[in-house]
Symmetry: C2
Subunit: 150 residues, 2 copies
DNA sequence: CTGCTTCTGTTTCAAAACAAACTTTACGAA
DNA sequence: TTCGTAAAGTTTGTTTTGAAACAGAAGCAG
């Protein structure tokens, strides 16, 4: 019997789009700004969650904590983030140079998003964002699923 | 001046969802079927594009050709795919065992998709698929973009 | 304070990914 | 056929990843 293939399988599309997105972003950001895609993501997470900790950022971005640790060291060495260690817990924030780089990167990132969503009306964009949020909310239940041994 | 963060940035959501998807899928498929996520993707691409070549599959999945090459060797060693080398060019297809494994994996994959889309009406699913297809079509233009040196 | 537990971040090490070099096969022209 | 060129696939060497081990500090009980 013939297996049935589906070309509208949602996870495959998501993986394809996401890979193309970070592949292209990596190359562009590295070439133009000397920053890897992980550093860019961490930078942007700090802006969205100012004063937060490294583990919070990893959780937010779905990145491994060793990746976050390494990215933070890089960003700190380039004096783009400050580690506000008044106590033991670390509160992260951007330096002036960090904000400047972030703004430059953000401009390019928004342009790329605009190209990705070319032809989408404002209503469609809002709908898409809603769908993405709902899928995101469904992830824990999905990953909790495990069929019995086959 | 303060940088502005956006929590509805589409690429970030896509990356987050896609990572969670393949992370969970990897663990589950490896544990239950002894197959890595790449092997599963290649298997499923062969079903969708029967008789195609390794490079065509890599292109379709957005995977590096060395990854495809290794996955194909693995699948071939386990006698899940046949390399129909009548001529030089390789036409790939699944063995009976390959189809059987594919069907089992597909059942789990569809269940996971169902959980991901829990709460989506049929209309919403169709809309989502349309949006994904349109984003996918926009990718070449997006990755062609390159701002002048800053 | 001392010892115990918990939480955060770092490092290590093995596995995986990527790019580039290399090999092989096909195709076209002379 | 025999070159020369192009395309497909494999291998190699380096970089990156991620899970687990580790180290350091904070909070808490006694």
């Amino acid at each position: 019997m013939r297996s049935v293939g589906r070309d509208d399988y949602v996870p495959a599309y998501l993986s394809l789009i996401s890979n193309a997105l970070s592949w292209g972003g990596s190359r562009l950001f590295l070439r133009r700004f000397g920053v890897g895609i992980n550093e860019w993501r961490v930078l942007s997470a700090i802006v969205n969650l100012p004063g937060s900790t490294a583990s919070r950022i990893g959780e937010e971005l779905g990145l491994n904590k060793s990746v976050v640790s390494r990215s933070l060291h890089l960003l700190h060495n380039r004096e783009l983030v400050t580690v506000d260690a008044t106590d033991g817990r670390r509160a992260l924030s951007l330096t002036a140079a960090g904000h400047e780089l972030h703004d430059q990167l953000m401009a390019v990132a928004l342009k790329r998003e605009e190209l990705l969503l070319a032809g989408f009306s404002p209503q469609e964009r809002a709908q898409l964002q809603g769908y993405l949020r709902r899928m995101h909310d469904n992830i824990p239940a999905m990953n909790a699923y495990d069929p019995g041994d086959p």
